[in-house]
Symmetry: C3
Subunit: 356 residues, 3 copies
């Protein structure tokens, strides 16, 4: 495996022909939402029927951002001169004239809702059926699960986050005092099957990270066994499953638990990424105090990632050497390098390479 595959993080390094997450489902309402996705301005809204819609956020007339307008029925109304567009992007009204000029329709992007998230296709519409559908996120809206989630607008390229979450040997360093899962000092076995990357690793009983122990009812010092399984079913999302076993459960008590971490990235403006995270426990109705503790602790740890990756991105952007020098590969990069392989393959399939 060559260690010299670039990730192209200073440039446009995202495949178009795939589903990306556009927003959390509850972010899309009848009040238009402006969001840069794959470096394009998109307006997201829900029709009065509740269907999510994604359109080019630029009126074809004088280029006003439609996201400054309002929703009426299934239409969005341009804030400037009141032109109206339907969910398919078709122009349906020009207030000051009876005919609709040719060329007045705008791009509409296919959306798919899955659990707590809405996915968007911004590539070639003819290619949709040739590619994997959006990843099933149904569990995020399943009452048998308890979910903590959050969103960051991160000033770094999406691949930096993707690589970060697929190599957790950074826990004992970047997160030594927050994650406190400092036994993660060896390298998991990683495999690739098609474009799906997986790693797996088992750990002897040790205290579970304060990010997750409270929701499972463990103290911060209680030793439990863990099997860590990471999966990246799509460049857009990866899971970090924490299979936890209590070696000495109380009589009749449950002794196995799963925390499914979820890392969703979507390229925004150049050098910026929408990052959605979720920590889902296969436990119904975890009490609010434990959930809040988990949320607070996750945020404290992920703030460390955000800070480091933003400094990394900014420093390389400012550095006249840019990304011309090669990075050194480590054995721990197994899963991360497979990300680069998948990425390179997807870009080549679109007739593109890295640009920076």
């Amino acid at each position: 495996m060559s260690q010299r595959i670039r990730n192209g993080f200073l440039g446009d390094n995202y495949p178009r022909n795939m589903w990306w997450v556009a927003a959390k489902a509850d972010e899309i309402t009848t009040t238009p939402l402006a969001r840069w996705i794959l470096e394009l301005p998109v307006v997201l809204y829900r029709t009065e029927n509740g269907d999510p819609v994604a359109l080019d956020d630029r009126c074809p007339h004088r280029w006003a951002p439609l996201s400054e307008g309002r929703v009426d029925g299934e239409q969005i109304v341009c804030p400037y001169h009141g032109m109206r567009f339907g969910a398919d992007g078709g122009c349906q009204l020009v207030p000051t004239q009876t005919n609709i000029p040719a060329g007045s329709d705008i791009a509409s992007y296919p959306l798919r809702e899955s659990g707590a998230f809405v996915w968007i296709w911004m590539g070639d519409p003819a290619e949709i059926d040739n590619h994997e559908p959006p990843v099933d996120m149904g569990y995020t809206a399943d009452p048998d699960w308890s979910v903590v989630s959050g969103y960051y607008d991160v000033a770094c390229n999406w691949v930096l986050i993707r690589e970060n979450v697929l190599d957790l040997t950074h826990l004992p360093f970047l997160h030594a005092t927050t994650f406190k899962q400092n036994d993660w000092d060896s390298i998991p076995k990683s495999t690739i099957d098609g474009d799906v990357i997986t790693y797996r690793q088992s750990f002897d009983p040790a205290p579970l990270s304060p990010l997750f122990c409270h929701a499972m009812g463990f103290s911060e010092t209680k030793p439990v066994a863990r099997t860590q399984v990471g999966t990246m079913p799509s460049l857009a999302v990866s899971f970090s499953d924490w299979h936890v076993t209590d070696p000495e459960p109380a009589p009749g008590a449950r002794d196995e638990f799963l925390m499914r971490g979820c890392h969703i990235v979507t390229p925004g403006l150049r050098g910026r990424t929408h990052y959605y995270w979720a920590a889902a426990f296969d436990i119904p109705e975890v009490d609010e105090h434990a959930i809040e503790l988990s949320r607070r602790n996750v945020i404290e740890a992920f703030d460390e990632d955000k800070h480091l990756l933003e400094r990394l991105q900014s420093q390389v952007e400012l550095d006249p050497r840019g990304d011309e020098t090669a990075e050194i590969g480590l054995a721990a990069d197994g899963a991360g390098l497979r990300v680069r392989q998948v990425l390179q393959r997807r870009l080549e399939a679109e007739g593109r390479g890295f640009e920076s």
Copy 2:
């Protein structure tokens, strides 16, 4: 009329050989004023005789901004080493030596004061007499008129404002709750004579906008008839005349009024515009309360334009598609498209096209 004339708003799209407004007359004093005009740094000041002066804001020696210096008599003194320049840009003193080095003179730009405004010529000096003089703005300093005025530094290209103020069919949309002149839902007839653009339109009695009714002594519900006349005598300034007739005046009361709106734009730094507005009533000494009401309401409405146009400009600047796609033309663009025609003609006369 082709709908495909670009306005070039991402680039340098301003004619040089014409008069632009440099500043309000009362902004120019014996304290130097720094202002970017047509993407060049200009220092504006008044001599002790009261004559306005505009010079290149860059000392020829070590390029210090003269606007950081001070005025002495008719001279401006460089803040750095004390070199002195007269109103014609001629270097008149180098403190540490007796001779004046060749090449020490700097550019001086012709100015013309008219009413409350001072105009500047930054084009070819030999072309001044071949072009229209500054527009007569005498009424803005006439005691028979009551004037409300203001200034915005807007982060958008000047043409976006120019087109905005010449097509008021955006009132019922962008300003539905501020201007409240929501009967402006049809298209005026527009004409062009030389480079002068005019539109004209009459409206049945309806309540007059709260931006203007108070100064004329009308309540916000009193129906009055309006004839709206727009004129653009120069790319630098356009007028929006509101001829108002009271269909049922009180006995002996005045029944005809004019509110002359004035929209002055001057390109500043790339993507920024100096925008001066004035609302002038042909009524002497309107009471201060009505004037303040007018000022407050105009600002509330114009803030809506500023917000929308700045988002528009910024969004197109960030969009990798830039301005390569064509805009769709509407019938309502009559006056606006004539602006583009005049602009294109003026740029061609200077041997230039749009650059972006």
Copy 3:
């Protein structure tokens, strides 16, 4: 002497093969310090033995800034995955594997500590012995001297500061009300010997600047004679020696004093300069009140330079004419033009010219 030598201040105009000041000695501790020097990211720290170290601030693995990590013994530990580097830049540990991959070493920059400052060599290592050593700054840590010092991060190119401090005929203009040394209205004689520039000038008795008089025990109105000697032993540092003689000393009192001003510049990011200043009196233990008065007055005056030079830089950066026009030379530019000559010679010796 041609007046048309550019200083290249919009571009990369710094020689690499010379010593520059990296930091004040007390800024470098066992807590890593991030600093851009010659447009490259550098991390500075002290080993537990107290030796200063400068390394490339970019881990060779995934490019994290090492300055976000921590120091352990003589090593710096990468914040991301814990790779360790020694003072020579050699990688000494990869936590998750036993071997060190080829190419894991990073650049280490030679440092030299001298008085209160630490110097860095970022050029060709083979050239070190062919060039002048760091300037002796021992007096800045000598108890027979009393030193006031400070640091500015200035948003202008280093040459603008270098030229500023070598032509003090700007005192009566930029600093008329702060320095109050307004007799500096004539031009000193300047000479060049190799790359060392010197100027010398004597002044009749006059009140001494409030920046320095208090430390010498003079009132702000007491007339004293001055001989001003400027020296630039290196592009990185220049001295401004104020030799002061009291023409009517009290019986038995000291009648000669020296204030050695010191101006250190180091290029940082494009268009930014690290500027260290010091005012050192050849008087042991000047009382704290006089020192504070001196510090406050120096800062008030140097703030004027910073403000003017930052506006100058920013205005020329924004000006479409850039630095294409020629500057006018004055007789007072003698020392400043010699700076440009030295600079041009040094760049040519490195096979480079000005780029912008």
